[in-house]
Symmetry: D2
């Protein structure tokens, strides 16, 4: 715990992923997940879900291999942005200021100890909805698209780390994230941690990379809130030839009813199919899963198995070196 609570970060605003198959990836997010292409710049395509309020929540950038481009957090005020930039600067992980990008103003960029690129910003462009797409539901940004099973909004991102402890500590100390749940080894080091600055259980998760690689992406996640939507989406995905890695299951952690699929570029995408649970207690004690309990953390209802490489597969995809795998197994 820090002595003084940091309250400067508001939420996860957008994510950039790399794809070696740009057009196929864009088609997946548009046709399967019902997202909108807002604009393009260079070799990047900007997309959003129909209840995302800002200009975009996802950027797909052409790249020779899949993985994380960067993630962006919005601060709670201009002052909060200044405060955080200064604090991160001091940690030595800072990169520096940029003037902004399509959709937002000046941003301070930095990286996690593991090298995941991140940025924080305050000024944001709200989505400028074309007249014909405006809805009478005034708290919704645009009409629900009539294709795919449309996701409603960005939910969270999950990062693989060569040193989970160090990355969790950075998120807590430099950015004010709180660890809501965690799975730990016998020596109390992290297998994984779920962190948030909101009432959600996680805006960002950090998991130990079983391959020991640096800066990989485990998955990005979009939100439905309705269990049946996952079943309907599964119908579309299977018949369109996409690979569902994990069909709808119930996690113990965050009580998420969710599923996992690979987008054509190779990045794993989670879909969140209910509301999980929310945390309102200002004095929340981190929920800690250890030893035998960990199985329940992943598969609360039991009865199925995750694929063997669920933890080890991330983007960019890396082949396990034999020695490393043994080390992992010995844990």
């Amino acid at each position: 715990m820090t002595n003084e609570e940091i309250l400067d970060i508001a939420h996860l605003a957008h994510m950039e992923i790399y794809s070696p198959k740009l057009e196929e990836s864009v088609t997946f997010f548009k046709e399967m997940l019902g997202m909108n292409e807002v604009t393009r710049k260079g070799n990047s395509v900007y997309l959003r879900a129909y209840e995302d309020h800002y200009h975009n929540s996802l950027i797909i950038t052409e790249h020779h291999e899949a993985g994380l481009g960067h993630l962006a957090l919005r601060t709670k005020s201009p002052e909060a942005l200044e405060r955080r930039a200064a604090a991160i600067e001091e940690t030595g992980y800072g990169i520096g200021w940029i003037d902004g990008d399509i959709g937002h103003g000046p941003a301070y960029q930095f990286q996690s100890p593991d090298g995941h690129k991140m940025e924080i910003f305050w000024e944001v462009d709200y989505y400028d909805c074309p007249e014909e797409e405006k809805t009478e539901l005034l708290n919704r940004v645009q009409k629900r698209p009539n294709r795919g099973m449309p996701v409603r909004r960005i939910d969270h991102i999950n990062l693989l780390s060569s040193d989970a402890d160090k990355n969790v500590e950075f998120m807590q100390e430099a950015l004010g994230f709180k660890t809501r749940e965690r799975i730990v080894n016998e020596d109390d080091t992290h297998v994984a941690a779920w962190l948030s600055v909101t009432n959600l259980v996680h805006d960002i998760a950090v998991m130990a990379d079983p391959l020991g690689e640096k800066g990989r992406l485990h998955h990005i996640c979009y939100w439905y809130g309705q269990p049946q939507n996952l079943i309907d989406l599964s119908e579309l995905l299977v018949e369109a030839g996409h690979h569902i890695e994990v069909a709808p299951i119930k996690h113990g952690i965050s009580q998420a009813y969710c599923m996992y699929v690979y987008e054509p570029g190779g990045n794993r995408v989670e879909l969140f199919g209910d509301s999980g649970y929310l945390i309102f207690d200002p004095d929340w004690k981190t929920v800690e899963w250890k030893g035998e309990d960990a199985a329940r953390a992943i598969l609360w209802h039991g009865g199925s198995n995750l694929p063997e490489n669920f933890l080890a597969y991330g983007t960019p995809d890396r082949q396990p070196v034999e020695a490393e795998v043994e080390e992992v197994t010995n844990k």
Copy 2:
């Protein structure tokens, strides 16, 4: 196809299972599945779901090991009963008439080629609902019970057979069942068949027993019709310490959204969580799954694995003889 269509059997009316832990089994069906205990006789307990119209749909009888007691089919008329009894008599699989049991009148008993005990009857007792349990919903037999996640009605039964082909043929020829879907080996012998006399895809399923045993039970099935009910039930089951063998999944065959759990006596129980699909076409061509397609037949949405012994586990539980297992594997 038979030259002349047999239209004498109406539906699956009740099932008797054996349990070495009678009281624990009864408690499971009452407290978890919300069924009612109607009466007891000898070492048998008679139960029903709240939308079952007859006196009972499940009998649990104390026995040294789990398994099938018998299954009962109701005919469409008294004449249909006479006709079928005579026809079965001729097959050589007949046992003979009994005066009836609690809940129904005279029944003709027989066995499948594999030795599964069955009976057919016409006269039936409708459930005599106590005044305080009567509901204003006039098409429902009694109020929905306020405990567990109450199943609505009996659905189907699945039998393991040492010779699936022969048992499927018997169901078709002697009883008029139609094969709605089947999984076949390369040589066109049955891995499994789903048969019905109703608009359901199956009232009875027959599966080849990987252990080559005779007359075992794979599972009985009760019906909800609502996917969410399976998720709610899973919460109750897990926290009550029951073993969910397969958490909610989507079968390709019958399009069932379903799950599997072991009742305390060891019998597998399926819960059917949506409406699957119905067959109205009077000239239905059996849907046939073969080779690589078979995986989709079992796990339509992919993404999970069934436990290794899903096909081999049945009641009574038998240990595979090594030679037999190899033979199975070689297929």
Copy 3:
């Protein structure tokens, strides 16, 4: 009850509706309900749902006013077709044989006592699915369409009648329908009846027309089987500017979770959002709702009101003559 049970009719095969706005109606069924346009002939468009097995289940024909074109029932065999044609001929309601239409062979046409046009046929064309639309789910005819909230199959049709008793009797005596549930006046005449030849509670419903008009259509119904689908569809409909007459509710009769919307031509369309309940008892006693119970028959969960003209609105739309309305009210 008839002395001899008639078992010749298999199910409701297709429905023809009239629309004064052909293209708008077609767009509604395609874009909102995800149906496919199979072909066109003259001023008629032939459509089907993705789990309908035959060539078509809906024909929309341009006409100066909305209403029923005809409904078609498939028989259980060629012999059943001959038998029924002869029997209907004798009732005096016969029209005569036609060679067939797109999608089916020779049909015998007739009308209900109220003048609703009907036909029965045996030979049918199955949908010839284009290669790219074929699915690995072998019991499904084509892939689930990726637009709208796609209905799965035809469910039932509901007819308004100037003389409900006479029309119900005709369906029973000439066609073998069984009355599964009914609402009756104090003098035991029908307010409405739900009839079927399948395990469904109704393939066809007949309701007394409060305006005393002849041969009107109350609604056609398509089936989803999943409650959430109605909520998702409602989002699409409202934002596309369609008029939802009744948002999702729970009927007591048939236990349907359902909703009602007007298609652009003016015909009412019901969407069936769960599995209701099924009838397997071969000796089913008609469920009878009377007096105060009738409110529960319509709105089982209570708490909302149907619009005032829910019973009186039908197609073609007719203005109530004052005297007629009083008469209705006095009942």
Copy 4:
């Protein structure tokens, strides 16, 4: 907007309602909503939902008429409690400190301008779960109860006010609530406002009392998060003889799928059946509904009507004085 953002209140912690039928009310919350009775003191019964983390979230106190006892907010820290108490003291609406109650420590009590009694506190007792009720789901406080359709947690409270503007302003200025959505009259005065200090759209709502009464309660709300749970609960409620005022509907405001029922004491209870939408934008602009839009705010999917006195019925129940009703109508 205030110049300086107040961040002292964490969330709605518990609610006290009055009931003239204490035991019947308690039975309703226990048997229908699956809540637990934690303890009793004097003529008060303390209850909680199975995912409520604190000792209790609902107190039912015997009283000659139904209505609000008080509502309680937890602060974010001991310092926040001191700051708020001092600030409220200055408004003149303060009552004073109490030592605490069962389940929490020292609390500062005050009233809204309309006289609704409120309190804020920091120290809280977590629920001390009996060993046999503990669950392996470590983020859940106790096992899901096996009776009724158990609500998961407290959600929000809705207050009727003789002067909505003044009460909304008080909640904003003294407590730091933000107005997330509101319905306004032509002169920009409030019909209703939805306010929160969390990511929820509302922890507290304030609605103009059409009868002009002071300090009445419109409803309390508990949360499920799953639409199907409302349908299942409706079955239990109707068959137990409870009055469902509004069967499950979709609000535009907060996108709640919800229903309303009267508990036996007369207080209206809302059940929240999905996740609605969450607000993460730190610069959220209040969504404003006016004129014709207001109908969509209440019934987004249209198609049903709320009962006539949905807005005017509150507890304690008051008969409208004729003049008052006219005045309301003139607005």
